[in-house]
């Protein structure tokens, strides 16, 4: 890193002061200069007054993982000065608000310290505390345009687009940008050695977060019922769904809303609502995070045992308990895979980024209908809430929902007898009917023991027949869920296995390892249950690393449980501090292990 279009900077502020718009402005400006960029918002679980950071990485090579090192820190929160100054890489820069003398905590050898009196400049130019605080953020964005060489015209256009209808605000934002920019130009070594130069590498891309993408997927898949209970980091998914529905699903003539969003009393009820809706024939979903998944356990078992489709988005956060609710993790893997009491297993899709989240959200509805079972889409806070640069989303108008085996009145006419849980095709999936259909279609859903005709039973054989069918259905699921994504290199003798949002860091690490003559193949698991390809990959290397973001190596355990691969033969690389994974963590763990350094 640290050259033209290849560096990272980090802004430390206090939350609730309006820095988000300045950070968004910077991200978008860089993106519009055609340069690959990604941003990570590191925010506290609180509304106002605690430290918050925003990390922006610029990568001409298109790497989107969290940066391994930071070239420039903008330190605007005195409470985190000492922490912030320590994160600057040797030889890097620190910019602080020099309205006050340089505090002792910020002194450090081997880095360059720049001061711009943002506070004073804003006091001189603007009225009122609120405006001054807000515009101080825009002023640092202005300084960064000069320090990093952000195109002035792009920034101006963005401001015009954002505040076009509020002339006063527009004017003060322009002024604030100018304040920062002019001061930096006159007093700082602009541009810094690492800076931006226009490229043409983002034309086919967008900046989108995963929750927006999942919501859009739900709209496009034709979901009509959404039930939820607010929880970070899942909340913005339903908010986005609502916004898209208001845009696309309101009948122009009647004002009727072709969707139902129910904010439930808790996650139990949210699960009940989507299961009720799925049973009745709607495409229904809920969005939640770990604590909500815990509350949904009983219902998940019910839906599993009674063959009811529904989609569950789990935006994972740092557990256990309330844990660190604004930090990321992949620690729900086991609790999703085997959610509920009794013998239960559930399909899970693992998108690696918002683009895939959109596609997998759609797939999840098809799979749930086809398999007649709850399907999870497991993302995490990093994918869900951060803006990622991904390929623009596209849609094929030929798409029609796969509603699976549903017998309507006409189809029922043709069958002699309808038996709800009779496996005719050998794939473990029995045809269902929807309530209201009439004729022979009525059946009784029960979570208690039932036979293949849906009748009550306490008979061992009749019970086993049904649960064995469910096992066959799960085996069938392994053949239709998304296959793993493998990146193979000539001469590789090490396998890296990873999942979800770790993909960005692991792919980057694979390139870096190659530069060190360590050649690795990478398999990113995209779904549970695992298909044959997963086993083949695991068995193809003497050395296999499993890279994931939880403490206990949950993915590794699942590979051991499901495929019988000895657990200890897979080397765990575990990163669970709550931050998005960096390539450095992976490179260090892999090369360290290969060199015989104990992890």
């Amino acid at each position: 890193m640290n050259g033209v279009n290849d560096f990272a900077f980090k802004i430390g502020t206090v939350n609730g002061t309006g820095s988000a718009s300045a950070n968004g402005l910077l991200m978008q400006a860089i993106f519009r200069m055609g340069i690959p960029v990604s941003g990570k918002n590191i925010f506290p679980s609180n509304i106002q007054g605690l430290p918050t950071w925003y990390e922006i990485r610029v990568s001409k090579d298109g790497y989107t993982a969290r940066p391994s090192e930071v070239d420039l820190v903008v330190a605007l929160n005195p409470a985190t000065y000492s922490k912030d100054v320590a994160t600057v890489r040797p030889g890097g820069f620190l910019l602080y608000d020099s309205s006050w003398p340089l505090p002792k905590e910020l002194e450090r050898d081997g880095i360059t310290i720049l001061g711009i009196p943002f506070g004073r400049l804003c006091v001189e130019s603007f009225e009122g505390d609120r405006e001054r605080t807000l515009l101080r953020n825009i002023a640092y964005a202005g300084a960064l345009t000069a320090l990093l060489g952000i195109d002035e015209e792009v920034v101006d256009t963005l401001l015009n687009q954002t505040y076009g209808r509020k002339p006063k605000l527009l004017e003060s934002n322009h002024t604030a940008i100018r304040l920062g920019r002019d001061y930096a130009t006159q007093h700082c070594p602009c541009p810094l050695p690492f800076h931006l130069e226009k490229m043409a590498a983002t034309g086919d891309s967008i900046l989108m977060d995963g929750n927006t993408a999942c919501a859009l997927g739900a709209v496009y898949a034709g979901a009509t019922v959404g039930a939820w209970y607010p929880i970070t980091p899942a909340t913005s998914l339903m908010e986005a769904f609502k916004a898209f529905c208001e845009k696309y699903r309101v009948d122009k003539e009647t004002g009727d809303r072709n969707y139902a969003i129910l904010q439930a009393e808790d996650e139990l009820a949210a699960a009940g609502i989507v299961i009720g809706a799925g049973w009745a024939g709607a495409r229904a979903f809920t969005n939640t995070s770990g604590p909500g998944i815990s509350l949904m356990q009983e219902f998940l078992g019910l839906a599993y045992y009674t063959d009811i489709p529904a989609v569950f988005f789990d935006i994972q956060r740092c557990g256990p308990a309330t844990g660190m609710p604004t930090r990321t993790q992949q620690a729900d893997l086991l609790s999703l895979a085997y959610a509920s009491h009794g013998d239960t297993k559930h399909p899970i899709l693992f998108p690696a980024n918002p683009h895939e989240a959109f596609e997998m959200a759609v797939q999840a509805f098809d799979l749930a209908d086809r398999l007649q079972t709850p399907v999870f889409v497991a993302t995490d806070l990093d994918i869900g809430m951060n803006d990622w640069m991904v390929k623009r989303l596209t849609w094929d108008d030929a798409y029609r929902p796969d509603r699976g085996k549903v017998l309507d009145a006409a189809a029922l006419e043709k069958v002699k007898k309808f038996s709800r849980y009779l496996d005719v095709d050998g794939d473990g999936i029995a045809a269902r009917t929807l309530p209201g259909v009439g004729g022979k279609g009525a059946y009784f859903v029960r979570g208690s023991g039932h036979d293949k005709h849906a009748g009550y039973t306490e008979d061992s054989d009749a019970y086993r027949e049904v649960v064995d069918r469910l096992r066959r259905k799960f085996a069938h699921a392994a053949t239709i869920v998304p296959k793993p994504a493998c990146t193979l290199r000539e001469g590789a003798d090490v396998g890296l296995i990873t999942i979800g949002g770790c993909d960005a860091a692991v792919s980057e690490a694979a390139d870096k390892l190659q530069a060190q003559d360590v050649v690795v193949d990478v398999m990113r698991i995209r779904a549970f249950p695992f298909g044959d390809e997963v086993r083949e990959f695991c068995e193809a290397y003497d050395t296999v690393f499993v890279i994931e973001q939880n403490r206990d190596g949950q993915l590794r355990s699942m590979l051991a449980i499901e495929l019988g691969i000895p657990r200890d033969e897979m080397i765990p690389v575990l990163d669970y501090g709550g931050m998005p994974l960096t390539a450095r963590v992976v490179v260090d763990a892999v090369s360290g292990h290969l060199a015989g350094v104990p992890a």
Binding site: L216, T224, A270, I273, G276
Partner: protein, 351 residues
């Protein structure tokens, strides 16, 4: 043993309703409850009510939680889909089903354990949403299925079969429902079919959530001296507030024999309920006086039964959600999916 085969008992009345269906057509599989269980009487009343109302069986959905009471959805209307869900969660499942397909008649059956303990939150919120459904609590003061523990509706001083006395104050579902805005609240007694059938019919016709608390003695664990949910106790302490006769729109509406204090409450579906108050000044459309009446009865050791409150013009969940008259499940994909061009246009916002 799978489900029990139905013995070929001839029903006394095999009259057909206008759909050509007899009472038998509204029955379900053979009950497996204890002989004499109040719940079976409620089932019989439901069969009668549905038959009289001429409900198309396949257009109804039977919803329940877990308990002896919740099992009864299998014992009526075998031509309807049924959903015996999990303990205390019938309201949320019904909410979801109703959101998806508003065109069905939802018949929810629950118990006092199911609704007043584990599921009290879900019941309250279904009431708040005013989900269009019949919500019957078969209230026996105990957990029948788990063998006779006190439920939250057991009265202070009532004793369990083993002689132990309950000392915690009961939760009265009618009062609770009234206080959180229920739009239809009634109470009846499983042993009083004459009162129960018209109330069930009125509840089925109500647009919104119709809560009916039915005292339904558990003969095995709670029908002994000292129990306040026994047959004897209920018969002796019942005070009827308002007698409801249900009149479907397509049948001739005749005046009841005694026309005193007659009130006609217009139901949302166009039909009407005729109410005969025993107390001259009882007003079933006034929430505050309904609440006061139930409390006053309670203070005298009486159980207020009858149609206690109805808001005939209430807005149900779909009115509040502004969903179309067409059930959401019947909307074609083209109306739900914005399509490729819209997505393409939307992408500009993310650049």
């Amino acid at each position: 043993m799978t489900s029990i085969a139905k013995p070929p008992v001839r029903h006394p009345s095999l009259r057909q309703n206008s759909l050509g269906l007899t009472l038998r057509d509204y029955e379900g599989v053979m009950s497996t409850l204890c002989a004499g269980c109040g719940h079976d009487s409620v089932t019989a009343a439901l069969v009668q009510a549905a038959w009289e109302l001429e409900l198309e069986p396949h257009r109804a959905a039977k919803m329940s939680g877990i308990g002896c009471s919740s099992k009864t959805t299998a014992y009526f209307m075998k031509q309807s889909h049924g959903f015996n869900s999990v303990h205390g969660r019938m309201p949320s499942v019904t909410t979801g089903a109703n959101a998806a397909n508003r065109s069905l008649t939802y018949i929810g059956i629950s118990g006092d354990g199911d609704s007043l303990s584990i599921g009290i939150g879900q019941m309250a919120h279904a009431i708040r949403r005013n989900v269009n459904m019949l919500y019957v609590i078969e209230n026996n003061g105990v957990y029948g299925l788990t063998k006779g523990q006190f439920s939250a509706s057991a009265d202070v001083g009532s004793t369990s079969k083993r002689g132990e006395a309950n000392e915690q104050a009961p939760i009265d579902p009618a009062l609770l429902a009234l206080s959180i805005g229920a739009t239809f609240v009634a109470r009846s007694f499983s042993g009083d079919k004459k009162q129960l059938v018209p109330i069930l019919k009125a509840g089925l016709a109500h647009r919104g959530l119709a809560l009916i608390d039915v005292i339904s003695p558990c003969v095995t664990f709670n029908d002994h001296e000292g129990s306040t949910k026994s047959y004897r106790y209920t018969r002796e302490h019942e005070v009827e507030a308002v007698h409801a006769d249900y009149a479907p729109v397509h049948a001739e509406i005749t005046l009841p024999e005694s026309g005193d204090h007659l009130r006609v409450v217009q139901m949302h579906d166009g039909s009407s309920v005729r109410l005969r108050s025993t107390a001259a000044d009882y007003d079933p459309t006034d929430r505050a006086s309904a609440y006061a009446h139930v409390r006053a009865c309670q203070a005298r050791g009486e159980i207020a039964t009858g149609l206690l409150f109805v808001d005939g013009g209430s807005r149900d969940m779909h009115d509040l959600l502004k969903t179309p008259p067409t059930p959401l499940i019947d909307l074609p994909h083209e109306r739900l999916c914005p399509g490729a061009a819209a997505l393409d246009a939307l992408m500009a916002r993310y650049r």
